[in-house]
Symmetry: C2
Subunit: 164 residues, 2 copies
Amino acid sequence: MAEHAPLSPMLVTDSPEEKFREFLEIRGEKLTEPRRILIRHIFDSHKHFDADELVADLRASARKVSRSTVYRTLRLLVEAGLLRELRLTNRTAYEHDYGYPSHDHLHCTECNRVVEFNNDEIRKIRETVSLEHGFRAEGHRFMITGICPTCSRARSPRRRLDLI
Amino acid sequence: MAEHAPLSPMLVTDSPEEKFREFLEIRGEKLTEPRRILIRHIFDSHKHFDADELVADLRASARKVSRSTVYRTLRLLVEAGLLRELRLTNRTAYEHDYGYPSHDHLHCTECNRVVEFNNDEIRKIRETVSLEHGFRAEGHRFMITGICPTCSRARSPRRRLDLI
DNA sequence: ATTTTTGCAAACCATTTGCAGCTGG
DNA sequence: CCAGCTGCAAATGGTTTGCAAAAAT
């Protein structure tokens, strides 16, 4: 349901797991086995995903984690700044927010593909606008919706031939 | 739950009701009394709202519309291009997408207030990025999340006094 | 007359929660 | 040891749907 343009990972000092452990420690909470399973699985690949996919991915393996724990852990990972929520449809999707450069999205409303992009102007605009309105900006989301090249071609496949 | 910066309405030739009627006619569907009640109530004011608020607003009056019809009509109004969906929380919020200039949003994560703003750069970026990726852009969403001035002050109310 | 729409109640589905037992530090 | 965690099953809450009666053209 999601795909990435090739943005290269950033260099980070701590592993996601280590960062999570620190976050939990501060709050007097524990890095348990299910939580370790989840964070490792999640940061093993740079994909957008949702709660259901995690449950499905792990159900087969010997590292099954209950649905409730998946939801509870996802919430923690967002609070810890490791994941970001993406509300494209009725279900909540997540993406890495650590060890990965900040970026925005193109969303194809036809095939649901998500492509990431970078544009430096956006952060500037965010600062300018926040300042104007006295907001203390903490994040932003810029999403362009439209039709991706593949679906565009599929829609009108003989456009070029018509001109012959 | 939502508030607007003062963006002035655009001039439009058809009333929202008229535009809805045209949309329905094309699809061989009908502009019924409940639908008329809803579109009038919705375009009576420029507020963000959700399904529940509509039901509540109308329950009291003599123009009660059932919850199912509210949901069904909201879907139609989005399809007709009269409303736009805004997924800020678990419930879907709506705003006018007709007779109102395009704009973007600041969202206070503390009090949930939504402020609209305009920035011409954004559309340019949208075109540039779409072109780069071969997307046919149909829309965009730019949302800045953060803390609004009011909540900022409430959070650290004695910041100024500390300096005395 | 025929097709679409409505309202109700029931169904749905993603997410949350209460709780008894398990676990990590 | 003991606060915090897990898994289960049940609850929640927004949204959708099946259906019989009502309305629109």
